[in-house]
């Protein structure tokens, strides 16, 4: 078209020149004849059309190709550099953003196998909202993945692929393309393994890519696929490593617990006998019928002996409480009653310290089949922990409720104490961890063990300077359903408190 126009204009120019020349007398008159001019123009057109057409096409091609080659070069350079990126997320972001920006596309999504390998998910996307692409899942058996697996590394063009299928299959494939907002899908293969897909769409719906583009996409995909394969392997290794570390720390923890169990059982057997003798002899004197024989000072000493032997026995009892596991005797309990008794037990201490204890106990709390000592221990430890955290002047709020839909009994204990250092929060439930010089550091550890024994959970939320909140959740499941209380209560308070 352009070439034709150019030739026509050239012809006109020649015509004009010849007309002008014909006016002179030294030019032969036949030159000015129109037939001659037309003949000359035809000859010129025939001779010059082809070379000119080739030249002009080449000119245009060169201009656009330079631009295209430059883009392709950029992407290939990037693909080489990507080999150094081992983090899947970072890699995915780099690929989609570069691919999208350099080729000026509407959307690009990098699809990779999910962790379970049962489907594909979008690792990163260009031109999408994060919340949108996170939800997308393409099953391994989907029409698109099946098509890609069948056709190997060839770029899948939506319109072309859909046209070749029956309407049902075409419909399924369209849904997959829609889910990825894609018109084209580049499969990423490492050998025979499909490591992912690059799905993209352009701003112009019928934008076409030619064979050379597809050739480039294949080359690009070969480089990118390897990078993704490596990043996926690194990710898998990382996860396996994390799991291994978790198992290791659990093992260490259970070994520690096992050691404490053996220690506690041994101590209980060996120490409780001498404690029984010390405390028993003191009690014999204290409970003597003839009290007049007892000096006031001696009586004080004897009371101290009884009290301190109980304290020593309590330490081993606490240790035993978790080492016994499910062996501890259980009965049907009213948790709200135990909680109220526990609050009453500490009320003297809290009133001395100027600590106000408020409680709110919800209705419909079902009876809980458990060991009374263990549950009392849980409540007492948490409340005492709050008391000790406050020191003096403050408030403790205790809340118990039953969440019927989830069958959860929830107990929350909050205090207005100074809060817990973030570095201490992780260690809070470790055995023998304490920040006080006069404590053993078993309270919260034992509490956690007991709560876990009943399938429950314990959580602490705290910030330095704004108090702490402990939440215990017991599942009221079949395992904890109430049973008829035993006729004879075998549990008892060994000594009156104080």
């Amino acid at each position: 078209m352009i070439v034709g126009l150019a030739l026509f204009l050239t012809g006109l120019a020649i015509l004009w020149t010849l007309s002008a020349l014909s006016a002179h007398r030294f030019v032969s008159p036949w030159v000015s004849r129109p037939v001659f001019i037309l003949l000359l123009m035809t000859v010129i057109c025939l001779l010059l059309y082809k070379p000119l057409d080739i030249a002009v096409t080449q000119l245009f091609k060169n201009y656009f190709n330079r631009k295209k080659t430059f883009r392709q070069m950029t992407l290939m350079n990037l693909a080489e550099e990507l080999a150094l990126v081992l983090d899947l997320q970072e890699l995915a972001n780099l690929i989609v953003n570069s691919f999208g920006e350099v080729l000026q596309l509407k959307t690009v999504a990098l699809v990779v196998p999910s962790r379970m390998r049962s489907d594909f998910e979008i690792a990163s996307a260009f031109g999408w909202n994060v919340s949108d692409y996170r939800k997308v899942r393409i099953p391994d058996k989907s029409a698109l993945v099946s098509l890609v697996r069948k056709n190997g590394p060839h770029v899948q063009v939506r319109e072309r692929a859909v046209r070749m299928l029956s309407w049902q299959d075409a419909n399924k494939l369209t849904q997959d393309f829609d889910a990825l907002r894609a018109g084209w899908v580049i499969p990423l293969y490492v050998k025979d393994e499909l490591t992912g897909l690059i799905a993209f769409s352009s701003f112009v719906p019928d934008a076409s890519f030619d064979e050379a583009d597809f050739q480039f996409f294949r080359e690009f995909s070969r480089s990118v696929a390897k990078c993704i394969y490596n990043a996926l392997s690194v990710q898998e290794l990382k996860i396996a490593n994390d799991e291994l570390q978790d198992i290791q720390s659990q093992l260490i923890q259970s070994t520690k617990i096992k050691a404490i169990e053996q220690l506690a059982t041994g101590i209980a057997h060996e120490i409780h006998n001498p404690l029984t003798i010390i405390s028993g002899k003191a009690q014999v004197l204290l409970l003597k019928k003839d009290r007049s024989a007892l000096d006031q000072q001696v009586e004080e000493v004897l009371k101290t002996i009884v009290k301190q032997t109980k304290r020593a026995a309590d330490i081993t009892r606490k240790l035993l409480m978790f080492s016994q596991g499910s062996g501890a005797p259980k009965e049907s309990l009213k948790l709200e009653q135990i909680l109220e008794d526990t609050i009453a037990l500490v009320s003297y201490q809290t009133s001395l310290d100027g600590i106000e204890v408020t409680k709110s106990i919800g209705g419909g709390i079902p009876q809980f089949y458990a060991n009374v000592h263990e549950l009392r221990e849980v409540f007492l430890n948490l409340i005492l922990n709050a008391v000790q955290s406050i020191g003096s002047q403050g408030r403790i709020h205790v809340e118990m409720s039953y969440q019927a839909p989830d069958e959860i009994i929830s107990i929350q204990i909050s205090d207005t104490g100074p809060g817990i250092d973030q570095e201490h929060i992780d260690k809070l439930f470790n055995p023998f961890f304490t920040t006080r010089h006069d404590a053993v550091g078993l309270g919260l550890f034992v509490t956690k063990q007991i709560v876990h024994r009943y399938g429950g959970s314990i959580r602490v939320e705290s910030q330095k300077g704004s108090g702490s909140l402990f939440t215990v959740r017991f599942p009221y499941s079949e395992a904890s359903k109430p049973m008829a209380p035993r006729e004879e209560a075998v549990s008892m308070t060994l000594f009156p408190e104080g």
Partner: protein, 124 residues
């Protein structure tokens, strides 16, 4: 006369319990092993036996079984350092009348023993 048998391999424990209950007008016998305990039950015919669970040789559970088999009227209170569901259930199955843990509260123990004797003589 109220008769009590204290069985524990720790002599000191037997001693203070003897002192304590004698002051409360009990006739107290002590035994330091299972075999001795069975002999004493036969010889003294006590109303109540305080029986330690963990003893070398014949342990408390075996003694309990024998006592309940041969002298079903004798009340037996088991005494142990460790309280577990299995042990309690075993003791209850064998016919124990109570199960208490060390260190002992003598006030509670006295109340319990008196109660068992009351039950026996119908003077509750």
């Amino acid at each position: 006369m109220k008769k009590l048998l204290v069985v524990d391999d720790e002599e000191e424990i037997c001693d203070f319990l003897k002192t304590f209950f004698e002051e409360r007008e009990f006739e107290v016998q002590t035994a330091n092993s299972g075999i001795q305990a069975l002999d004493s039950v036969q010889a003294v015919n006590p109303q109540v036996v305080l029986l330690d669970v963990h003893m070398p040789g014949m342990d408390g559970m075996s003694v309990l079984r024998q006592i309940k088999l041969r002298f079903p009227l004798v009340k037996v209170i088991m005494v142990t350092a460790i309280e577990t569901q299995e042990k309690i259930e075993e003791a209850m199955r064998l016919g124990a009348d109570n199960y208490i843990t060390k260190p002992l509260s003598l006030e509670y123990l006295e109340k319990d023993v008196q109660e068992k004797i009351g039950l026996l003589t119908g003077n509750v």
